[in-house]
Symmetry: C2
Amino acid sequence: MLTETIKVACSNCNLRELCMPMGFDQTEMQKLDEVVATRIKVKQGSNLFSHGDPFTSLYAIRTGFFKTSISTEDGREQVTGFQMAGEIVGLDGIVNDHHTCNAIALEDAEVCVMPFANVEDLSREFPVLQRHVHKMMSREIVRENSILMLLGNMRAEERLAAFLLNLVQRLHARGFSQSEFILRMSREEIGSYLGMKLETVSRTFSKFSEEGIIEVKQRYVRILNPDALKKIFNPSTC
Amino acid sequence: MLTETIKVACSNCNLRELCMPMGFDQTEMQKLDEVVATRIKVKQGSNLFSHGDPFTSLYAIRTGFFKTSISTEDGREQVTGFQMAGEIVGLDGIVNDHHTCNAIALEDAEVCVMPFANVEDLSREFPVLQRHVHKMMSREIVRENSILMLLGNMRAEERLAAFLLNLVQRLHARGFSQSEFILRMSREEIGSYLGMKLETVSRTFSKFSEEGIIEVKQRYVRILNPDALKKIFNPSTC
DNA sequence: TTACACGTTTGACTTACATCAAAACTCAAA
DNA sequence: TTTGAGTTTTGATGTAAGTCAAACGTGTAA
């Protein structure tokens, strides 16, 4: 985990609309630049933070791809999320002043460090930022609710369909193709996230492929029939 | 859902330490009383709020017991939590200005209505309250993480053991017995929360009972051997 | 180029839990 | 005190996904 001293401003960042509230004038925006202390690089495979680390900051992902996970004493891992550019990690640390999950870079990444003290100070000054922080946290709660629905009620095919649709939708919002992409995570990591074994993930990919819904080759995925995926995920809306 | 005009102060509330930050002097505490606008009664079986309702307030439970749930178009329900006195519901509504889940009273209840505008206004004035709100939201994120672990990695017995231990721990923190209690929810609701069918919940109860770990009679539960439960939930810590 | 490690796919078999069904219990209204 | 609706328990059977195992691909380093 390398630290750079380059000070970069949110005001010029092309991800601004993803991680920052909108509708500020020039001078307010400059004040808001103060949330970000530094920017750091995280090498593929290394931890941005780990279970037990003292909590100091939230991290806005600038480039790269992360997974967050928790694990039991006996070594079982549960992936709790995959995060990409413009998304925030670290919210789990606020409640106990230390992190309860691990954030691991799935590819070389760069993150903006936002010391939480700065976030809170500026939140008191700027109601728009305050509201933004609250929404961020609420969004995470709602996201986890929908994963609970996946794990509690859905079958393997429904889970994977929902996963692919969600992934492609987020990538599309970042200017990438809405039909093809490279998975940044292994079958095992997808399985952990979706509460199934890697073999089941692989079989379900193969099934979708045989049915002409997607094209898969290792980590390359191309969605040929998005409506079929939507239908699998939620039969009533199609 | 009946509205009472009785204005009740947090400063005199015996649940203060559960829903409010501590360490205020007299005058600050009086100011904080302003977060709560009114107190309302919710009849057993009726909704405090439902999916789609506009979001205006958070609710602190004063008495009674709630479940929160989300449902799919095709009618599948996922219980996302059970809440008791001193706990807060409604955080899901912040992100989209409307609620995404339902909060239903499992017994006659009384809740303190905290208009979110008040919460935000006072948060800017009192850093301690601000911090408290952030911790509340972070706690909910961490709680959901641990449910993900249950649903993604644990077997039926582990899930039910974890559920019982969590329930009894929270009841104990509120001054109730740490060994016996009455379940407020049905087998089906427990099953929905834990991602299993009601029959499996019932069978697992029976199994624990046969093994002398608990005594169950319908909704009455008495924990005879808490260590055995802990061992089932997490073999390595015992 | 070969060799090796690691991830992925596929097949054969097992199992934990779901499903279907019926009986037993609880409680409230007639 | 019956009746009936809703909930819980228990049994018999089915199945989606897990487990075990082997083959196949891909990338990397000698």
